[in-house]
């Protein structure tokens, strides 16, 4: 008991994690921290090392250097948490010959103290009607639901999800997003999610890390990351040339594009769009429309990738 108290409660702390496949480095001194109660999204290009990172975290494959601590324990000791840390992998990872009900009963045997019954988690994930179906006969989406259901049997404190939205229909994605939000809000469950589905992550994540070229290029609270981004302002006006001359030189304003007739694209750094509007109107420019593009996860991701693009030779076609 005293040993448990001494453990670090931080769900995940990764320091200088390095991993290579042969001579090819995949992870280069990767640092990542998931705070207690956070829903942390890990995004990256195909082949950026998201799944490798997840598998190293969970002790599924060895790493060459670095330090990983999951709630105070090393990856190979995760079982000592007895179900407080669980994972849902990119493939459903279930016994194909078992039924949904048997799969959940089997998962109960793996939990030290199941906090929910198989029937309860079936209802939570909307798979009660498939209870007697064998896993091999289920669709990918329902297999993923079953995989998530078994993870929830022991009331985990930290859940690691690798590509959780793959194979889910729109309703299934909404249900999963709601479930993650509810577990995070009501039970304080921390999450680490890796996904390509940036809009879904944006809806749900409190923290984001962008994995690029084997390193975490950007990491932090979503609001802080978005505030740090330049916002774009699209100005639809009658005289782009004059408008350009007016805004040129204004502090915090940069002209991004003026090549389209009637459209001026600006990048704003802490400048209120109302100020631009006022200046242009004062000088007699007719403004037809003013559109502010809010920073998004997609723009953040694109900005990170654009600063250090992959060489053409590394792109597999």
């Amino acid at each position: 008991m005293s040993k448990e108290k001494a453990l670090d409660p931080t769900p995940l702390r990764v320091e200088k994690l390095s991993k290579s496949f042969g001579d090819t480095p995949v992870l280069k001194e990767l640092n990542l921290t998931v705070e207690t109660g956070a829903v942390h999204g890990l995004v990256g290009l195909n082949g950026s090392g998201k799944t490798t990172t997840m598998e190293c975290l969970l002790g599924m494959q060895p790493y060459h250097a670095g330090k990983i601590s999951i709630m105070g324990l090393k990856p190979e000791q995760l079982y000592k948490h007895a179900g407080k840390v669980v994972s849902v992998f990119d493939s459903p990872s279930l016994h194909p010959q078992l039924t949904v009900k048997q799969t959940l009963e089997h998962a109960c045997l793996l939990c030290e103290r199941p906090a929910r019954t198989p029937t309860q988690v079936e209802a939570m994930l909307g798979i009660s009607q498939y209870s007697q179906y064998k896993i091999k006969h289920l669709s990918l989406g329902n297999r993923r639901r079953t995989s998530i259901a078994q993870a929830l049997l022991g009331r985990p404190e930290f859940i690691i999800l690798d590509e959780p939205f793959n194979g889910l229909d729109a309703g299934g994605v909404d249900d999963l997003l709601n479930l993650i939000s509810r577990l995070n809000r009501e039970e304080g469950t921390s999450f680490l999610l890796s996904s390509h589905q940036l809009p879904y992550l944006e809806k749900i994540c409190s923290h984001i890390s962008v994995l690029h070229r084997g390193r975490i290029a950007v990491s932090g609270h979503v609001s802080r990351l978005f505030n740090a981004q330049h916002s774009r302002l699209l100005v639809h006006c009658d005289d782009v040339v004059r408008a350009c001359a007016i805004v040129q030189g204004m502090p915090g304003v940069e002209i991004e594009d003026n090549s389209y007739p009637g459209l001026l694209t600006l990048q704003l750094d802490g400048v209120n769009p109302a100020l631009i509007n006022q200046k242009l109107v004062e000088k007699g420019i007719a403004i037809h429309e003013l559109v502010r593009e809010k920073p998004s996860l997609e723009t953040l991701f694109q900005a990170v990738v654009a600063t250090d693009p992959l060489p053409a030779l590394e792109v597999e076609i």
Partner: protein, 285 residues
Amino acid sequence: MNGFKAAFRAELFVMLHNNAARFLLVMPAIAVIIRAIAVKLSDNARQAQQSLSGGRSFEDIASSNAWGHLVDSLSIGLTLLSLSLVAYAAWSFSSDRDNGALRHVVIRTTNRMGIVLAKFANVFLLALATLILLGIGSALITAILWDFGPIVEDGYELISSAEIRQEVALGLGLAILPIPTALAFGVLVSVSTQSATQAITTALGITLAVDIFKSVLGSYAYYIYASFQPSLVDRSYLSDVGRLVRGYSDVMVDTQMLSLNQWIPLPQMLVFIAAALVVVRFRKL
């Protein structure tokens, strides 16, 4: 230890709901029952033919005695059992790694070594249950179709029932000893290979290759556990017992071989398990 217990229970749950395991449990017993019925029908046809042409020979007397058929049934059943369970042991870990189910056990219940031991314990349990069914099936079918009794020729008792029973028990015991080693070999292959298909083909391939080529090794073959198993090229003591209980008096008992039969399999089993425990630490799951 708690983790191992939970992993063992979870693996047992999966095995009990696995059609392949259920099939392997009854397959050797059913095979020997079907074979015994076929042999009985064939014997009856031959005896009917001979009754038309003359008296009974010594072979007929020996063939109507249940002991020889019991030993044949056990020998064939154990050959099937060891081959099928080596394949099952090879499949056990590798298939769970292929479908990813192993990962949940590692994360929630026990360490990698605990899983290997839980897998081995379950396959061992399946072998034990299969062996019991095989023993019951063989004994029942031979008792139904033939009569147990001493080997008698011209009113003279060549071998008493008690002696036969003793030899059958010894032969069976010595034939069973290498089975856990064979299962441990299957588990080692399962842990070491890249996929379930590769594991099964490798385990069966090596087992059959050793069986076929063991005669090339001469007396060194007795330092391999597989030499003591009933197999396709059978050199086990049980095959000698099969001839002994049919009244062939030329069976020579090699005491050194019996001693090796007792002492070789267990250390080899421990070596295979230790190797599997080492290999599993470095495998990607």
